[in-house]
């Protein structure tokens, strides 16, 4: 039994203990956070794969297998989400046993009802897993068959995936995050969640790619390829900040009671510190770290920026979810246990997938072209 499994097991024990010692509310809030973090890493990577197929990008072909591997986190994420359905009566006011008479009408009560909610979760997960099977599984199969038809198929499928992806991510954002406070609404939330997801996916891919390059498993991948990942990280750091600030500015300015309470809860008292930390770690540091041209292809720097961005995404989800538990941020051993368990499990999962197939899509007929890519 390796150290990693040991740590994961320890985390699992701590998390189980948290259910009884710290109460189900805190347990499920942690669970919700980590299921969404896993989902972000997996779905963001899958989006990158689909984007590469859609735009027919060449630079990314040598790195595509890496993205397909981190996209594999979708499987544990989906499992976690199905288990997460048990959080409904605990965390979500509309699913509380006595919540039959919510102020909103019957139609919204039907939308926010446990059966319909569960159906949406299952449908979205099925869609993502299917897409992963088609894109990543097809690529693995291509290693053996070398059939160009599989590339064509992926390319044809990518635009349809994009459309369904947009709808499913928005649904997930409204369901898992927004409906924690069912009176609140913001139509940019889907885009906000997407920006976070894609950034987390990019960061996971970068992290794994830097690791594999360091281990010498990606021969031929040069500054030119990694530079693009760095550029994407930079661009989407800015994009996330733009979306986050746009939502905040509009709600702050209009100051409508049905919207602004959401921000009040997250900007007053100790939560203000969390919001400021978000601005620093999710925007300022990565932004200035990645501004210089050489930084975007500098492996050590990319490694810490990617870790920082994953941490910032954790903070983002924490800041979105935990204020519903109370006015004071909760962070002690239950949170640490959950982190150990989920990070350990994710790393175990990734390690397993590192043993499957080649490290580059060797069956892709355009791999040579991709390796020859110059800025």
């Amino acid at each position: 039994m390796s150290l990693l499994s040991l740590v994961t097991g320890l985390g699992a024990l701590g998390a189980a203990a948290a259910y009884f010692a710290a109460g189900p509310e805190r347990f499920w809030a942690n669970w919700l956070l980590w299921q969404l973090l896993l989902l972000s890493a997996g779905l963001g990577s899958l989006f990158l794969v689909a984007l590469e197929h859609l735009t027919d990008a060449r630079w990314s072909i040598p790195l595509r297998r890496t993205a397909e591997r981190t996209a594999g986190l979708l499987a544990p994420a989906s499992a976690a989400m199905l288990a997460g359905l048990f959080a409904l009566p605990v965390l979500y006011p509309w699913a509380h046993p006595g919540a039959a008479l919510m102020p909103h009408g019957a139609a919204k009560s039907a939308w926010l009802s446990a059966p319909f909610f569960s159906a949406r979760v299952v449908l979205c997960s099925a869609l993502w897993l299917l897409a992963w099977r088609l894109l990543a599984g097809g690529s693995l199969e291509q290693d053996k068959t070398k059939a160009p038809a599989l590339s064509v198929l992926a390319r044809r499928f990518a635009p349809f995936f994009m459309a369904l992806f947009a709808l499913s991510v928005t649904t997930a954002a409204f369901d898992w995050l927004s409906s924690l406070e069912p009176e609140w609404y913001s139509d940019i939330l889907g885009v906000y969640f997407f920006a976070g997801i894609f950034l987390a996916g990019l960061a996971s891919v970068t992290l794994l790619a830097v690791h594999l390059i360091g281990a010498g498993r990606l021969p031929g991948v040069r500054f030119d390829h990694v530079y693009n990942l760095g550029g994407f990280l930079f661009a989407f750091t800015v994009f996330w900040s733009y979306i986050a600030f746009a939502q905040y500015l509009l709600m702050w300015y209009a100051h409508l009671p049905e919207e602004v309470f959401w921000y009040q809860r997250r900007l007053e008292g100790p939560w203000r510190t969390a919001a400021l930390a978000l601005a620093v770690f999710h925007f300022l540091i990565p932004f200035f770290a990645l501004i210089p041209r050489d930084a975007k292809g500098d492996l050590p720097r990319l490694r810490w920026v990617a870790i920082l961005l994953l941490g910032a995404h954790f903070l983002d989800l924490y800041w979105l979810i935990f204020p519903v538990l109370g006015p004071d941020p909760l962070f002690s051993w239950p949170e640490v246990s959950f982190a150990l368990f989920f990070i350990g499990a994710a790393l175990l999962w990734i390690r397993r997938s590192l043993a499957q197939g080649a490290d580059m899509p060797i069956g892709d007929p355009r791999l040579e072209e991709g390796l020859a890519f110059r800025l």
Partner: protein
């Protein structure tokens, strides 16, 4: 790309730069006459508006913003395509932008000129527009920087100056080529001054390329910010249907969408009339049509999310105004917007239709119409029934409104036509750098 293989740097210069040296054909004069007539009509009606006051238009409470702001948002949106093509696609190294970037950038400038006119005349007393700028004055007043209208002033003027700079920077080496082709005389003198004596020194190119990349990065942020600021004009308010958090990215997507439609429209005419079919190839147009399709899907997404959130909010005012969008007096404009923006561009899923010239023209025109009506929906319908039913009022544009709208198209096409004859419509320097050579990638 196979069609470009026959081009050489010299023949490219000959083909593109010589247009400015020949006498324009009769068709060009006819088109210019038509465009300039519309433009003159528009300017005459603007002068009439200044004399009579805003009462010459159909605007009245509660619809105090109407054609003026619709046209402003419409034109500023058109302007976004140029910056997108020149900046973002440069950063993404999409080579197909080279052939179209120059014309697209020029259109950006012209569209921003058209757009800038509207807020100016809608001020009612435009001769005191300098009050919008922060300058020390004896009244001891400063503009209110918490007003999105002041943000607009800064955003639009920054956008215009940076786009102008970007465009000019790209033109400098091309003008230097034109200068060397010109015979001694006034034309040569003007071109010499405009080219700043550019001589293509290697040490100059090194700074030049860096500047171009930096400007591209800056312009990318700018292009996002400008239409976001335009959307703030609406979204920071409390008007149901305006206060939507998705407005900033949704306005940007819409701007790119309509801008690309205009670029496709203009380029498909330019390449035919100026015989540039082998430089601006169907491949280029197809790529643009793909962007139109993608942004059309983004528009559909935005409509869907807006509608869903309006319902999900359970806010009676939002429910009411969204019903008005589709089933009110002006409901037909809402359906037009949906039909033209979300449905018609779906034709581009077929690669055959993407490459067909008539289909392209049809879709481009439909998108322009649809996007204009979308702004009508947002502005007029949201305003005409506000919180107080006793002040509800229908809006009806006057002939002056229509005339000024026509005039803005006249102004735009006049400028486009002049540009097509006076300056190189293709960025020849950039094209040359990417022409296939025998010793390329040696």
């Amino acid at each position: 790309m196979a069609p470009e293989a026959t081009l050489s740097p010299a023949s490219l210069d000959e083909r593109v730069l010589s247009a400015a040296e020949r006498k324009p054909p009769a068709a060009w004069w006819l088109a210019l006459a038509a465009a300039a007539s519309c433009m003159s009509l528009g300017f005459a009606l603007m002068a009439y508006t200044l004399y009579m006051g805003i009462g010459a238009w159909g605007n009245n409470r509660p619809v105090v913003w109407a054609f003026d702001i619709i046209n402003f948002v419409f034109w500023i949106g058109i302007g976004h395509a140029g910056t997108l093509i020149s900046a973002i696609l440069l950063l993404f190294r999409a080579r197909w932008r080279n052939a179209i970037s120059r014309t697209a950038e020029a259109m950006t400038l012209f569209a921003v000129v058209c757009a800038g006119l509207f807020p100016l005349i809608h001020l009612g007393r435009p001769w005191i527009n300098f009050w919008l700028f922060p300058y020390p004055n004896q009244r001891g007043l400063w503009p209110n920087f918490r007003s999105p209208l002041i943000w607009d002033v800064f955003a639009v003027s920054t956008y215009f100056s940076v786009s102008l700079l970007f465009w000019y920077l790209g033109l400098v080496p091309d003008i230097a080529s034109m200068r060397e082709r010109a015979r001694p005389g006034l034309r040569k003198l003007v071109l010499t001054v405009l080219s700043l004596g550019w001589r293509g020194e290697a040490s100059h190119w090194r700074h030049y390329e860096k500047a171009y990349l930096l400007l591209a990065g800056l312009a990318t942020g700018l292009v996002l910010s400008v239409h976001s600021v335009v959307s703030f004009d609406f979204a920071v308010s409390l008007v149901p249907g305006w206060h939507m958090t998705i407005f900033p990215p949704y306005f940007v997507a819409g701007a790119i969408f309509s801008g690309f439609a205009m670029v496709v429209l203009v380029l498909s005419v330019v390449r035919r009339t100026m015989r540039l079919e082998d430089i601006i190839t169907p491949h280029h147009l197809e790529m643009m049509n793909k962007v139109i399709l993608a942004t059309s899907c983004l528009m559909a997404y935005s409509y869907l999310v807006e509608g869903f959130t309006a319902w999900y909010s359970m806010n009676p005012y939002l429910h009411h105004i969204f019903k008005q969008y589709l089933w009110g007096t002006y409901g037909w404009t809402g359906w037009t917007a949906i039909f033209c923006n979300c449905l018609i561009p779906q034709l581009f899923w077929s690669s055959r239709l993407r490459r067909s010239a008539p289909v392209m023209l049809f879709v481009a025109v439909a998108v322009l119409i649809g996007m204009w009506f979308e702004r009508f929906v947002i502005i007029v319908i949201s305003l005409h029934q506000d919180f107080l039913p006793s002040s509800w009022h229908l809006y009806e544009p006057t002939l002056v409104d229509y005339g000024i709208l026509l005039g803005s198209f006249g102004l735009f096409f006049t400028l486009v036509l002049l540009f097509a004859r006076l300056l190189p419509v293709i960025a020849t320097t950039e094209m040359k750098a990417h022409l296939p050579r025998e010793d390329a990638h040696a």
